[in-house]
Amino acid sequence: MTKRRMFLRMITASLLRRRSRMLIALLSIGIGATILAGLVTIYVDVPRQMGAQFRSYGANMLLLPREGAVLNSESLSEALRQIPADQLVGAAPYRYVRLDMTTRQQSFTAAGTDFTQIVKTSPYFSVEGAYPAETRQVLVGKAIADTIGVKPGSTMELTYQPVSGAADKTPEESRVPGARLSGKVEGFGGGMVYVSAVLDDEARLLSVTVDASTQTPEYGGRVPEDEAFLRQFTGKSLPLTLGGGIDALTGATVTSSAVVDALNSATETAAAARPRTMNFTVTGILTTGGEEEGYVFLSLPDMEAMTGTDQLDVAELSVSAGADRLEAYAGAVSENCENVQARLVKRVARSEASVLEKLTALVFLVTLVVLLLTMICVSTTMMAVVSERRREIGLRKALGASDSSIRAEFLGEGLFLGLLGGVMGAVLGFVFAQVVSVNVFGSSITFQPLLLPAAVIVSMAIAAASCLLPIKHAVAIDPAVVLKGE
């Protein structure tokens, strides 16, 4: 038998046959290692956990139309391609308009949105009843519901009153089904040519009337009465070009051209703007504790049907990423999309970063304290073990053990305890972290394979460090203790 085998035999015998004593030392190392391994696992996992957790506090990025550009479902999905799909928790589009409830003489802010996305971006929304699942259904904010007394199942008649002052609208925006357009363009000799037109249900020209009283009666002046000329416009979609389906009236080319130009630049007139009214079923009452309680929410298709446009005012995004990554995604959107700009909701992003920072600092601190406590605990236990084994140590020295042999034996026992405690700690620590994670964060964590060797090395180091003082005491024991009788 070699000396090394005898050494291992003595150490394992000491630990295995003196179970009750060494169990305490093993427990203190094992529990310390368990908490350490658990905390480290959580520490590593915290940013991911908290990132997901923070997403329940609402959007952290906004997409807005650029100046002079339009945000709609098309430009929105283009912008969303700049953000990795697995990090995009949700993207809720919003279009805000005023809607009237004429039966009650009330007026509300209405938001057109995508309810499947709202659930993701604003998980804190609390709905009594259900989110609308179909068109012609609305979700009503609690404040409004209280005012007008609606419940899930009630019906509401909502009216969209197009904004007065046609100047606010571009010609393109004016071309909605049923719109009445009017326009004017300089004709022959500087006189104005006025046109007015009515659009059908598919926003095509239904009828066109022309006022050409400033034009030469024999030429341009004939335009308003020429049925063949006017009939050409019926069923055509704006904009038009002279020669492209529309032929000029012979001898009145300038005036004909003015009519086409006037139609192309015609806008919806206030007088002509026709209110649109639709009936809705209330599916749910929304409670948020915020301004949303003063809104009525309807689906985007309904909003488009009422306002005649698929424009959006804003999209709220919930992105599971840290402040730096978020900044990068916003930059990518601003760089690559010509219609859309991205803004961070600084308040949310910044508080996320600061909470994370504090949390990691806290975990670090607790880890340090646990480390210290473990060392004190192991050290105290080993100290007790040394004084309990005073006689045995004296005997070993009397039998010729050198100081370094005594040191090696106790250090060996300490390291062996550290090894066992470390393995125990890695396994139980993962279970501990898993339990914490499931209960606190509501999600499970993945086992870090590196945790096992790390826990073993750390707990062996702690055990060794904790043994230093007890070993010093062991070495100082006088071999003569074995002789003094008692």
Binding site: M1, M10, L395, D478
Partner: protein
């Protein structure tokens, strides 16, 4: 030829003179008993001879080497190489088996050898108790394990402190028979004892009183 020689050895603890100018010598192969009442200086002498303590003054020559001024590290080496110790409380490592306890002595001395350790246990009649823990052995059996442990490294001197103090008569006789065998093989034995019967088994008895050698008695009947 003397194996051990004490020249004017004193050990003083504060005001107490535990050993007071003691001189004696023990020859190679001799079997000597040291007797004396409690507080006569037996334990102090045992500690000094066993290289576990140093005298305040005087010289202690063990196998020609003065051990009275050596460092404790050197004393450990000398004790390990030359001396086999047997104690009254038959100290054993309580979580190691009988054979392992014998092997601990080999481990510190040179190389553990289980076969040799088992042979030593066979010599003290405990071959089949080799795998028992101390708690499973009687007092006499434990002391016999300690004898086996003391002789395993073939020491020049076996130093026994009240080896039969906690034993019944039957076990006392077994241990004394073992000592007689060791003596025949040429091992030097120093036995500290209270017991006149144990002292009578030795060739010579040194009686200590108040830290001094009071008298020496040669056992006329030795070997008869």
């Amino acid at each position: 030829m003397s194996l051990l020689e004490l020249k004017n050895v004193s050990k003083i603890y504060g005001d107490l003179k535990a050993l007071d100018n003691v001189s004696l010598h023990v020859d190679q192969g001799e079997w000597v008993a040291i007797m004396g009442p409690s507080g006569s200086g037996k334990s102090t002498m045992m500690n000094i001879i066993g290289c576990m303590d140093k005298p305040t003054s005087g010289e202690v020559l063990l196998d020609g080497v003065d051990i009275s001024r050596e460092s404790s590290k050197k004393l450990t080496d000398i004790r390990r190489d030359k001396i086999g110790l047997i104690f009254q409380q038959f100290h054993m490592v309580n979580y190691l088996t009988a054979v392992e306890n014998v092997m601990v002595s080999q481990y510190y001395h040179s190389m553990p050898d289980e076969k040799e350790a088992l042979e030593a246990l066979g010599r003290v009649g405990l071959r089949e108790r080799a795998r028992h823990l101390p708690s499973q052995l009687s007092g006499g059996e434990q002391q016999r394990v300690c004898v086996a442990r003391a002789l395993i490294n073939h020491p020049e001197l076996i130093l026994a402190d009240e080896p039969t103090g906690n034993l019944d008569e039957a076990n006392e006789n077994i241990v004394l028979d073992l000592f007689a065998q060791l003596h025949k093989e040429g091992t030097t034995l120093i036995v500290v004892t209270h017991d006149p019967e144990v002292a009578d088994a030795a060739q010579r008895t040194i009686v200590l009183e108040h830290g001094k050698v009071a008298r020496e008695v040669i056992n006329e009947n030795f070997g008869k």
